[in-house]
Amino acid sequence: MAIPTHETSHATPDSVLWQPEVEAHDDLAARTLGFWLYMMSDALLFAGLFAAYGVLDHAYNTAGGPGARQIVHPLDGFWQTLAVMTSVFAFSLATVAMKMRSRPGVILYTSIALVLGLVFIGLEIADFRALIAQGAGPDRSGFLSAFFVLIATHGLHMVFGILWMLVMIVQVARSGFTEHIVARLLNLRLFWQFQASVWVCVYAFVYLRGAF
């Protein structure tokens, strides 16, 4: 079987063999791709956790303790959803400010996004504390384990996002918009929006599905 070769059969003295002008690669493109790939692995991580939650969300996994219907209320999750969404919106405004090369704009909007992220975490902690106080902690039953670990893993991602924002505020204030800093801001936007999407899944899969 001969695969048609679209190339000449061998080199000739006037073939182009070297490309002195071509220097390596587009750093920004590689970094963006790399970050998308990392997000892919993060998505798989959440897929695993959602699968675990789906498996353990049955009456016999509650071991006599509370099930989803007893512990979630769509309204609890609603405030958190609001916080996440407005935070994403604020951070998008920060990237718009970055396009306009406005350091104060980026710092202002990133700070707003950061504070809203903190609000989200605060609500989540309050929620967890209330549950644990009722004796419905993660060590109560298989179902509660899945509930806590799924949501806490997302919360941990949010904490890292907040830390990242803090670093970016300092870096933008100090050095402005270098290539690295721009790349980081763009990747942070991706990260933050991804965490918001995961939260939407949590809200739909845990809060809405659980309550109704």
Binding site: I3, G48, A63, A146, H180
Partner: protein, 688 residues
């Protein structure tokens, strides 16, 4: 809310105390002595020749993909030796402990190893061989080869690459430490559930197993990101997708598997750690836990992982066979398609590892048929190799021998896999050593590919050829060992020997066990010959090696000097054909050098990755022994390091035209271990 533990615990040392050191176990003492001798043998010359600054500058802080690859391979080979030793001990125990009248030594009732210790040995054997030997070696090979094959200066993220290396090394180090401080998991390399839960494994063994794998698999995931980004964005001009060498294609497929599968393993282990550390009930046998959840999660990673291992091996075959058949690879496009078909199907078959666990006929049928489908693309590959060999001008240099041997193993392993894919058969042989023999054919096929690859690419990296005579001797002793051990093992499987036995009750198995023991004797001999091969090679290291030492290589990595200079290509090559070097050679242009040189941008060395590794070790060790301050301090240190590094502005340095020209003139002086010019790094400027 950490769980309540049995036994002592102190805030300063966690669960660690002098009792953790098994100084009264003669086997471990022997292992310790061996390790100490080896360590002295390595460290003493380093100190004597004052090589620490050299090691620090050229290896520990390096971001060069070739050196990182070499270090991966060294870590893997060391661990493979340890895994081999475990294997030797397992075989020897089984041949000694057959039948009620079998002899007993030391403090064992049968054989010479008591059951609990034996369980640790086979658990560490499997864990080490799959995760800390073969995986790092393959990662190392792809690290060395792929950037060269696509005509790039380095990986897409050189710094991240070093981080991956050190995380993998930390995992391996934790496994080694478990030998001397505390103990290792006794629950199999798959982490049999609920045996790994705290009530049944209250010691630190399972924790060692968890954290060693968890930390190193973060490294593997990051490496997958890096590899994919390299292949997608760093190809030389003219390197279209259909000109990509097959090894690079298989690396791409493998790393897509790695990127998607390892996070699932991470979840499985993280949930298990939650059970063990904060008392959740994911996999407990009560309180609403679900045992099958663990088994599914583990194999959702586990099966793709076996293809993560075997695909690079297929890529290696596809490079070596054409070179030594002096023909282009037969059916390039079908080879690429088969590679991705295997990668895709590998996601849909995991349940064949537990057909017997009552999933029901419909589910078993689906997974049985899906499993058999893997045979189709695998068959395509085998036929492609055979047709490449057919009417080729064959030469049996050592790399080719390993490939042909590997093809035989693929045949046996694949066909027995097909048998296991039928639930009706699997019900009778599941958990027998028949399965063990099947997958050893498969992973040995990977080992064969690795040895072939090391011999094949060794001259490219080090500028000297491995000794052929001892290389062939190594191949033959290793192969005789393989045949004796595993043919006998298939037989024992049919005779009903189940796996993981520290005591064998049927004296009729003895003849086959003895054959296996002879086989492992051959393996031991081959290890010695391997060391001899390295020695002979080093003694004759002055022979000059061409850019293409085999004379018939086909791909881009053979175009640049041997040994490869640290900047890979002085000038980026233009790719004109699928087998570029072959294409140039046929036109008589393979020695044609570029007309002139241009400045080259290189990344600077950094010690941050090694420090991250150090603290990752601290974190792992702290978690294992529940030394909370140590774990907490280490993880904070890692985060601080990452942040601090992001403040550092080191975009690398520039090699000027004159320097490149000078180095290209005296080629030998510029190998991968040559000193890089030191100079102040560039300063990052704001973009406008």
């Amino acid at each position: 809310m950490p769980v309540h533990l049995q036994g002592p615990w102190s805030p300063l040392l966690g669960r660690l105390s002098l009792h953790a050191i098994p100084y009264n176990n003669s086997i471990i003492l022997f292992a310790f002595a061996l390790a100490a001798v080896a360590a002295v043998a390595v460290i003493a010359p380093v100190l004597y020749f004052k090589k620490i600054p050299y090691l620090w500058r050229e290896w520990i802080t390096t971001v060069d993909h070739k050196k990182i690859g070499v270090m991966y391979i060294i870590v893997g080979l060391v661990m493979m030796f340890r895994g081999f030793f475990d294997g030797l001990m397992i075989r020897t125990q089984q041949v000694l402990a057959d039948g009620p009248h079998s002899p007993h030594f030391l403090d064992a009732l049968h054989g010479y190893i008591p059951p609990y210790h034996f369980d640790q040995i086979y658990s560490s054997h499997g864990t080490i061989m799959i995760l800390f030997a073969v995986t790092p070696i393959l990662t190392g090979l792809t690290n060395v080869i792929v950037p060269l094959q696509v005509g790039a200066r380095d990986m897409a993220f050189p710094y991240l690459n070093a981080v991956s290396l050190w995380l993998t090394t930390v995992g391996a180090a934790l496994v080694m430490v478990s030998l001397f401080v505390g103990d290792f998991s006794a629950a199999g390399w798959v982490g049999l559930i609920p045996l790994t839960e705290l009530p049944f494994s209250p010691g630190v063994g399972v924790d060692y197993w968890i954290w060693a794998i968890q930390i190193s698999s973060i490294g593997t995931t990051l490496n997958a990101v890096n590899m994919i980004a390299t292949i997608v964005t760093m190809r030389a001009p003219g390197m279209t997708w259909l000109r990509l060498p097959i090894f690079t294609w298989t690396t791409l497929s493998t790393n897509i598997i790695g990127l998607t599968a390892f996070p699932v393993l991470g979840v499985a282990l993280a949930l298990l750690s939650a059970d063990r550390y904060i008392g959740t009930h994911f996999f407990t046998a009560g309180q609403g836990g679900n045992l099958m959840l663990y088994t599914n999660l583990f194999w959702i990673w586990g099966h793709p992982e076996v293809y993560f291992l075997v695909l690079p091996a297929f890529g290696i075959f596809s490079e070596i066979i054409p070179t030594f058949s002096e023909r282009p690879l037969f059916g390039y496009v079908t080879m690429v398609a088969a590679t991705f078909a295997i990668g895709g199907i590998s996601w849909l078959v995991w349940l064949h590892h537990f057909f017997t666990m009552g999933a029901g006929p419909a589910v078993n049928t689906f997974f049985s048929v899906a499993t058999m489908f893997v045979g189709v693309p695998t068959g395509v590959k085998v036929f492609n190799w055979v047709f490449t060999i057919y009417r080729g001008r064959l030469r049996f240099d050592t790399p080719m021998l390993w490939c042909v041997g590997g093809l035989f193993l693929l045949l046996i392993g694949g066909l027995t896999g097909m048998m296991l894919a039928m639930p009706a058969i699997d019900y009778t042989v599941h958990n027998s050593v028949f399965v063990v023999a099947h997958f050893h054919c498969m992973v040995l096929l990977v080992a064969y590919a690795i040895f072939g690859a090391v011999t094949f690419w060794f001259p490219k990296v080090f500028g000297l050829q491995l000794d052929e005579r001892s290389g062939k001797l190594f191949f033959w002793t290793f192969s005789i060992g393989t045949i004796l051990v595993f043919v006998a093992m298939f037989g024992l499987g049919f005779m009903g020997e189940t796996r993981r036995l520290d005591y064998l009750y049927d004296p009729q198995w003895l003849p086959l066990l003895i054959i296996q023991e002879i086989g492992i004797g051959f393996y031991s001999l081959s290890v010695l010959i391997f060391c001899w091969m390295l020695y002979v090679t080093l003694r004759h290291r002055h022979a000059h090696v061409e850019a293409d030492p085999w004379g018939t290589s086909r791909t881009l990595e053979w175009l640049t000097h041997t040994p490869v200079p640290f900047y890979n290509f002085a000038v980026t090559p233009q790719v004109n054909a699928r087998d570029e070097l072959d294409w140039r050679r046929r036109g008589g242009m393979d020695r044609k050098l570029p007309d002139g040189y241009a400045p080259v941008h290189m990344p600077s060395n950094t010690m941050v990755p090694a420090l991250i590794g150090l603290f990752a070790f601290g974190f792992g060790f702290g978690m294992i022994w529940r030394i909370w301050w140590m774990a907490g301090f280490s993880i904070v240190a890692v985060i601080v390091l990452v942040i601090a590094r992001s403040f550092q502005k080191t975009p690398g340095y520039i090699l000027s035209t004159d320097e490149i020209t000078a180095m290209e003139r005296r080629v030998e002086g510029s190998s991968i271990v040559a000193e890089q010019p030191s100079r102040p790094p560039l300063v990052e400027a704001e973009v406008h």
